[in-house]
Amino acid sequence: MPQVKVTVTLKPSLLDAQGRVVKDALNNMGYTGVRQVRIGKYMEVEVSGESGDLDAEIKAMCEKLLANPVIEDYRYEVIA
């Protein structure tokens, strides 16, 4: 059964408030070399693989629900 690994990230132009706080924490812990942290989402989607055009289906899922194209970018990888 194919598995789709989807990664959703905030667009580079947007401030990532969570990432900034984690970066500050890492700096405070002594990891002074950390310049930036950006936090995204990782999803594993299992599909039956029966639909004709898996790529088109995954893209539609990402654009409609899994990511918000106004604020996020997505990429995915299909593991057969």
């Binding site: 947007l14 401030l15 408030a17 969570q18 900034r20 629900l65 918000n68 106004v70």
Partner: protein, 248 residues
């Protein structure tokens, strides 16, 4: 006979009052605030509508309340946007019906593309629960006719993801067409970084769609309808809708 005719006239006047629907999603928690304000303060008919329902027949105004629909899973409003009732909400909006979203309801409206832009995490790394001052930017709309332009109103906020963002051309369109209805300011009506509780671009607190029948805002006017509770400044938004409806 004259008494009877007066009685006969009264219901027709009442029937001009809009009927409100308050949509309940799993995780909505300001539904009762909205229901109470509409029923007990505004004196308008109101009913709850469950998210699995498919019809808004008979309703004039749809309210999407605050809360944490679907636990805010994935993104605020992202899952609620695909609830059964949302097809009816979109159809109601497309027919020109009033749709008002506050807080989580605003997030749902943006996810549903009934309003442009998006709401992201507050830039201050805090959940903000406080009164804010809002400046009324445009009072020539069905939602703001009870206010004066530049009037400053006091309304509460309670959110972690209320930072309004949109691309430059969307912002330009909103600003130039009077679709920014409310802006975070200080009590004198001056917008500043200090009076911006969440980092929203241009201090935007509430916007309308191009037809001004769909409005979303992060602050909670439904929680500011009685002086006893701290402020009655939010009531004007609801009385505006009632007036606008009666004039249609």
């Amino acid at each position: 006979m004259s008494t009877l005719s007066t009685l006969e006239k009264k219901p027709s006047k009442i029937s001009k009052r809009p009927k409100f629907a308050v949509v309940r999603f799993p995780g909505s928690n300001c539904d009762q605030d909205a229901y109470f304000a509409i029923k007990n303060v505004l004196n308008c008919p109101v009913e709850y509508v469950w998210h699995q329902d498919k019809s808004l027949k008979g309703f004039d105004v749809v309210v999407l309340p605050g809360g944490f629909s679907y636990g805010d899973y994935l993104r605020c409003g992202a899952v609620a946007r695909f609830s059964n009732i949302m097809d009816a909400v979109v159809a109601h909006a497309e027919r020109g019906g009033f749709v008002f979203g506050t807080c989580n309801g605003f997030q749902v409206l943006c996810e549903a593309h009934l309003l442009p832009g998006a709401l992201v995490r507050n830039n201050v790394c805090q959940f903000r629960c406080q009164y804010v001052n809002l400046r009324v930017e445009n009072n020539d709309t069905p939602y703001t006719r009870a206010y004066q332009v530049d009037q400053v109103i006091k309304v509460p906020i309670a959110h972690g993801e209320g930072c309004y963002i949109a691309d430059a051309s969307t912002l330009q369109t909103l600003e130039s067409s009077g679709r920014v209805l409310f802006r975070y300011t200080n009590e004198k009506g001056h917008p500043s970084p200090e009076s911006n509780p969440n980092g929203s671009l241009n201090n935007i607190a509430g916007i309308a769609n191009a037809n001004f029948n769909v409005v979303g805002m992060m602050p909670h006017p439904e929680r500011a309808c009685e002086k006893l509770l701290g402020s009655a400044d939010g009531l004007g938004l609801f009385t505006s809708i009632v007036t606008a409806f009666a004039m249609r």
